[in-house]
Subunit: 159 residues, 2 copies
């Protein structure tokens, strides 16, 4: 397989950009993620492919719950904050304010929509990312936005 | 969970639009699909969530191979053709010309990029769609395009 053709073809796949958060006891996990899709209507399920060494995956695996946040197209600065390792101080998560969701995971209050989820399946054996299947348990839609996509960002993740 | 908030939040997830094809003996499967994402770099893996009663899922499950095609933003008419049941006649698949891929699945020659794949995992028990994990075996990038996304189409699939 020609590596350049592979990279160019795979980078034509369209993905959004999200911040996924989770919490296990006093440990927080939060990361900007892109490999996400709905995968079922009934029950409503999402798939997220996550770095196995990341704090979000660890906290999701431990606690079984998380929150997926939609980023607006003008929130690249917030996306950038969650590329860094997770840090909680002064009631901020990587510098962003949060509250506790019904499921106890952190909700980032500056983001325009979020989806509370429970882990229903977790598969680490297929590739270099863990595949996590999440059932939607609660949603909030706070304001109309254009969602941030990988195409509209300065970043790439795929290929 | 408030149904309207759920629908509005889930429809902020960003997805592309693709045509997925497969073949089992003389039976063809082809459908426009949106719930697709890369899920691993090494090996390169994709996830597709597919209707369990569809011809593509049946042919993929039988043959173990398929081809995912990227649609260009000006190819909504081709996307529309593959909402209909799969029909092969006069060397056309739903009216679109095709050739046989290395893996023997049909390649639609009007589409700007495609990814040949082999099924590495298949899970029908999680929701109302089957989750198929595909390993990328060959790619072709034929021309630069803006890929078609659900947002830029007249359709919705999610919520």
């Amino acid at each position: 397989m020609e590596p350049k053709a592979k990279q160019k073809a795979l980078r034509l796949l369209t993905n959004g950009m999200y911040v996924l958060t989770a919490r296990s006891g006093e440990k927080f996990g939060a990361a900007t993620v892109t490999w996400v899709s709905q995968v079922s209507f009934k029950p409503p399920l999402l798939m997220a492919a996550l770095r196995k060494d990341g704090s979000v995956f660890q906290c999701l695996a431990d606690s079984g719950v998380g929150v997926l946040h939609v980023l607006a197209s003008d929130q690249k600065d917030i996306a950038q904050k969650f590329f860094a390792p997770t840090k909680s101080e002064n009631d901020l998560l990587n510098g962003e304010p949060f509250v506790r969701a019904k499921n106890s995971a952190p909700i980032l209050t500056n983001l325009p929509a979020y989806i509370e989820c429970s882990v229903v399946d977790l598969n680490e054996r297929l590739g270099d990312h863990a595949l996590v299947i999440l059932e939607v348990t609660n949603c909030a839609f706070l304001r109309e936005v254009e969602p941030l996509t990988v195409t509209d960002s300065p970043w790439e993740y795929g290929g």
